[in-house]
Amino acid sequence: MSTADGMSTVDRSKYEIAHLKLVPKRHIGRTISAAVVIVLLLALVRAFSVGQIEWSYVSQFLFAPVILEGLVNTLIMTVAAMVIGIVLGVVIAIMRISGNPVLSWIAIGYVWIFRGAPALLQLMLWFNLALIFPTLGIPGLFEFRTVDIMTPFVAAMLGLGISQGAYTSEVVRSGLLSVDAGQYEAARTIGMTQRKMLRRIVLPQAMRVMVPPIGNEVIGMVKLTSLASVIQYSEILHNAQVIYYANTRVLELLLVASFWYLVVVSILSVGQQRIERYFARGSKSIQASM
C-alpha cells in the first residue's frame, strides 16, 4: 500500500496537465502551398487585366438584347431537351425492367445506339434528315416537307433529348433498383396495380437516388445546348458568335456567354439542393439535419 501511495503522488503530478499551455501543430506545408496558389492566382488576374481584353465590350454586351434573347433560347432548349430526355428515360427504364423480353431488348438497343454516337453528330443527323426523307408523314393522311419541320430548334431538341434519354434511362433504372423489394410487395398487398405502385410507391422513393445525377444532367444540358449553335439555332453561344463575327471582339463575347452560363448553372445548383431536400423526407439523413 505504501508503495502504491508513493506511486500515486508521482502519478498525480504527471496527470495534472490542465494548466499547461497548448501549442498548436504547425502546418508548414499547408502555408507554403496556399502561398504558391495565391501567387499563381494573382499572376492570372494580372494577366487578364493587362491582356488585351476590352472590358468595356464585355459590359456593353452583357445585357444586349441579342445576348439575352440567346440566353432565353438556351433555357428553352434545356427544358425541352430535358423533358424529352426524362420522359424517354423513365419509359425506357421501365421497359428494361419489365418482364416483356421484346420491350427489354428494345430498351437495351436504344441505350446502345444513342449512347454510342456523339451528341453533335446526332444533331447533325436530325438536321439533315431531309436528305434521305424528303417528306414526313403517313402517306394518304398527311405529309410535310422535311425541311419545313426539321428547323434548327426541332433538330436540336430531338438530337439532344433522344441522346439524353439514353443516359437518363440508366439513372432511372438505378433509382428503381435501389427501392427495396419489400416495398413492391407491400404495395401489391394493398391491392395496387403495377402502374399505381410505380407512381405512388416506387418512383417517389427512387427519386431520392435519381435527383442528384439528374440535376447533374440538367446542368450538363445547359452547356450541351451550345452544340445547337452548329446547326444555326440562335442560343446564347450562337448569338455571341454572330456579334463577334461583326465586331471581331471574340474573347469579350465569349466571356459574356460564359458569364451567363455560370449564372444559370449557379441558380440550378441551388434548386437541386431544394429538390433533394424534398425527396429525402422520411429518410435518415434529413432527420439528422432537422
Binding site: 407491400a186 398487398t189 395496387m192 396495380t193 422513393q205 431520392r208 429518410s283 435518415k284
Partner: protein
C-alpha cells in the same frame, strides 16, 4: 363451418428445390391459424402463395370462394390480369417480417394510402378510420411520424393498422415478430391478440409457440415443404402425434 381459405395440393418449386409439396389447408372464418416449423420448411412461401406474391406451380387456393389467380369459364381456367389480381389482393392484408412501411409517408399516410388510392375512399373518411386504427394499436400520438422515427415494434403496429385499413377478410402474418428486439415482441403480439379477439381471420407464420398456444385455434406443423401435422392448437402443441413435431417443439422451448 364457414371456410374462408381453402388450399388444395399447393406446390411450388424453386428450380429443382421443392419449396411446397402438395400442401393443403383449410381456415374457417374468424379463426386464427398458426403455421410453425423449421426455417426453409415452406411456411412463408405458402403464405405468399395465398395472396399471389408467389406463383403456384400446382394446386389451387380459394379465398372467400374466389379461386386465386384464375377465372373458371366452363372447362377453361383463364389467368387473371394484373388489375384483376390486384382486386383479389385488396381483401387480403399482409404483415411482413421487415414491416415494409412506405418510408416516404407518415404513419397516417401509410394507413390511408390503400383506402384512398385503391378503394377510392374520400380522404376525410379514410383519415378518420386511419386515426381510429392508430388509436387501436396504441399509436394515436405517432400519426405524423415517419417510419424512421418509430421503433421496430411501433412500425410493426402501424403495418398491422395499414393491413386493417383495407377492411380485409383475412390478414396474413409472415413472422411478424422475428425482426424485433426481444423487449418489443409483446407489444406486437398484444395487438395481434386484440385483433384475433375481434374476430379477424388470421394466418400467422410464427416461432412464438406461446402465442400459438394462447391465441390460435389450429396449429399446422410444416417441414420440407409438407404439412406434417395439423389440428387444434392444444393438441398439436401439447400432445403432438408426429415425433418430428414433438422434436421441433422441444427444440424451440429449450
Amino acid at each position: 363451418m364457414d371456410i374462408l381459405v381453402k388450399a388444395i395440393d399447393v406446390s411450388k418449386n424453386f428450380g429443382p428445390f421443392k419449396a411446397l409439396d402438395q400442401v393443403s389447408m383449410e381456415v374457417a372464418r374468424g379463426e386464427v391459424a398458426c403455421i410453425i416449423g423449421p426455417s426453409g420448411s415452406g411456411k412463408s412461401t405458402f403464405l405468399r402463395c395465398i395472396n399471389l406474391l408467389e406463383r403456384m406451380d400446382g394446386g389451387a387456393i380459394w379465398v372467400n370462394d374466389a379461386l386465386m389467380g384464375y377465372r373458371r369459364d366452363g372447362n377453361n381456367l383463364h389467368e387473371l390480369s394484373d388489375a384483376e389480381i390486384s382486386r383479389q389482393r385488396r381483401r387480403i392484408g399482409m404483415v411482413f417480417q421487415r414491416f415494409n412501411l412506405f418510408p416516404h409517408k407518415t404513419a397516417l399516410e401509410n394507413i390511408m394510402e390503400g383506402p384512398v388510392q385503391v378503394l377510392g375512399e374520400p380522404a376525410d373518411q379514410a383519415r378518420e378510420h386511419a386515426l381510429s386504427l392508430l388509436a387501436r394499436v396504441g399509436l394515436a400520438d405517432k400519426a405524423n411520424h415517419y417510419p424512421v422515427e418509430l421503433s421496430g415494434g411501433q412500425q410493426q403496429r402501424v403495418a398491422i393498422a395499414r393491413a386493417m385499413g383495407m377492411r380485409p377478410d383475412l390478414i396474413l402474418f409472415d413472422e411478424p415478430t422475428s425482426a424485433l428486439d426481444p423487449e418489443l415482441v409483446s407489444e406486437v403480439l398484444d395487438v395481434m391478440k386484440d385483433l384475433a379477439a375481434s374476430g379477424m381471420t388470421m394466418i400467422v407464420v410464427t416461432h412464438e409457440l406461446g402465442f400459438a398456444r394462447n391465441v390460435a385455434n389450429t396449429v399446422t406443423f410444416m417441414e420440407a415443404g409438407k404439412v406434417v401435422e395439423t389440428g387444434p392448437a392444444s393438441e398439436v402443441l401439447s400432445a403432438p402425434k408426429s415425433p418430428r413435431t414433438a422434436e421441433f417443439i422441444r427444440a424451440v422451448h429449450s
